[in-house]
């Protein structure tokens, strides 16, 4: 029991998720700064941001539906934490998960985005509703592609429906990325992750320069801190999911730890580099990108899989 509590609350659970996620979000900002020949923020910046937001005043907009407005950031953080536990516990070999957990992960990962939408729509702000509608369209765009990728991976692993099983298959006969279809799936999965994290080029919902932070526009103080918290957690959890699904999982014995850390950093680095070298797409372009090109890519990968490549 205590063992389990430690797993849920400390290591790979809540505390670890928050600290490692904060570190990765700093890593993302630092790499961004280096790409632009800047110096970048100090290491503790995510902590400073979080504490500062907790000190600030919370403003309730006059037209907002209060309870929904205040609860949705908490739902977002909770969704991110639950998804994190379901992904991290099998990834760190603490528990084996359960049969079919990958399908549950797929649904739980949608909770943060849906909570942002609900919060934005309840704030009664026009720009927030524009942001929410864009976020909704983006979800419609990438979820189908994400589901196809999961189907392809399940097929590749010989119908393993749990994360631990998929990792075990890869550790037995090599990571899935080591094949032609694997490379195609990896590209598509990285694009989905980019959209799930709401990073450029898929940040039309949050566009600071045109709709002033979109769905976040009315949030201030502690609710905004919870939204930041959910983002910190997602930037750790989604790369770990990519590593578990495509790159052979995390092996935490001996030197494997360094290799595991490098794998996660590599995925975050890829996300950061894509975000720094691309302009923002309009929502129509992103939907077309996922609906046509990414879906075609995944379908091609599935066909290649059947041919044994």
């Amino acid at each position: 029991m205590t063992q389990q509590l430690i797993h849920y609350l400390l290591f790979p659970g809540l505390l670890f998720m928050v600290i490692a996620g904060g570190f990765l979000s700093w890593f993302d900002r630092k790499i961004t700064a280096w790409v632009q020949f800047r110096k970048g923020p100090p290491l503790l910046q995510p902590l400073y941001d979080f504490v500062k937001l907790m000190v600030k005043e919370t403003i309730l907009p006059r037209n907002a539906s209060r309870v929904t407005f205040l609860l949705s950031p908490i739902f977002a953080a909770t969704g991110a934490i639950i998804a994190g536990l379901m992904i991290l516990l099998p990834a760190f070999g603490v528990s084996a998960g359960f049969d079919g957990d990958i399908i549950v992960i797929f649904y739980v990962l949608a909770i943060p985005s849906l909570s942002y939408i609900i919060g934005a729509l309840s704030s009664g702000n026009l720009l927030a509703s524009v942001g929410a509608s864009r976020e909704m369209k983006l979800i419609i765009g990438y979820e189908l592609c994400f589901l196809l990728i999961l189907a392809a991976i399940i097929l590749k692993s010989g119908y393993q429906l749990d994360l631990a099983g998929i990792v075990a298959v890869q550790q037995a006969d090599g990571a899935f990325i080591g094949s032609v279809s694997g490379v195609l799936l990896f590209v598509a999965l990285m694009m989905c992750i980019q959209a799930k994290l709401g990073m450029v080029p898929f940040d039309a919902a949050e566009a600071e320069t045109e709709i002033a932070s979109g769905f976040l526009i009315e949030y201030s103080g502690p609710p905004l801190a919870f939204i930041k918290l959910s983002k910190y957690i997602l930037i750790l959890v989604l790369p770990v999911l990519v590593v578990s699904l495509m790159l052979g999982g995390l092996n935490l014995n001996g030197w494997g730890i360094i290799w595991a850390v490098l794998k996660i950093l590599l995925v975050v680095l890829l996300v950061t580099l894509v975000r720094n070298t691309n302009p923002r797409l309009t929502i129509k372009q992103s939907m077309r990108f996922f609906f046509i090109w990414m879906n075609l890519l995944v379908i091609a990968a599935i066909v290649l899989e059947y041919m044994g490549l």
Binding site: R29, A33, F37, R38, G40, Q45, V51, I59, L216, G221
Partner: protein, 155 residues
């Protein structure tokens, strides 16, 4: 204009009262919101200069943000005329407390070359409480950074 609104005094002392670590975090993570009044646009350009690789305010944890709800610092530049006075007050009322107000440029501080104009309604400190004045026409980016950093280090 809402005449019942009482001008609050500067609320920076409120942060000073809170505990040391929180104050430290506040100073290390200032998010800037830029209000351009009726300026000649030079001050706006100098503010944007602070974000370029050469000056890089992000190394102090400062970020330029798009919504006043997220702001910790309100940068006000340009002369305030009868049109933008109400908007400035509205923006100030919408910002979450505590907020630091910085008046940038001769126009923001005193009215500068626009002080004699017949639509002039400023300077900024007649409308909202100002914490930092950064004079200059326009002030250099170094001066803007030095102004904010000095203010925060003031005991």
């Amino acid at each position: 204009m809402d005449t019942n609104f009482q001008l609050p005094s500067s609320d920076f002392p409120q942060i000073k009262k809170t505990l040391g670590f929180k104050e430290h975090c506040f100073k290390k993570s200032l998010w800037l919101y830029h209000f351009g009044g009726a300026s000649c646009n030079n001050c706006d350009i100098e503010i944007l200069d602070c974000l370029t690789p050469r000056y890089d305010v992000e190394r102090f944890g400062m970020l330029l943000i798009g919504s006043v709800r997220h702001a910790d610092v309100l940068l006000v530049n340009g002369s305030i005329n009868t049109k933008c006075r109400d908007r400035l007050l509205e923006i100030y009322k919408q910002a979450p407390r505590p907020i630091v107000v910085v008046a940038i440029g001769a126009c923001g501080c005193t009215g500068g070359i626009f002080a004699e104009g017949n639509t002039f309604a400023g300077p900024v400190d007649k409308i909202i409480p100002v914490d930092v004045y950064i004079p200059g026409c326009p002030p250099k980016p170094e001066a803007i950074l030095a102004g904010i950093v000095n203010f925060l280090n003031k005991k």
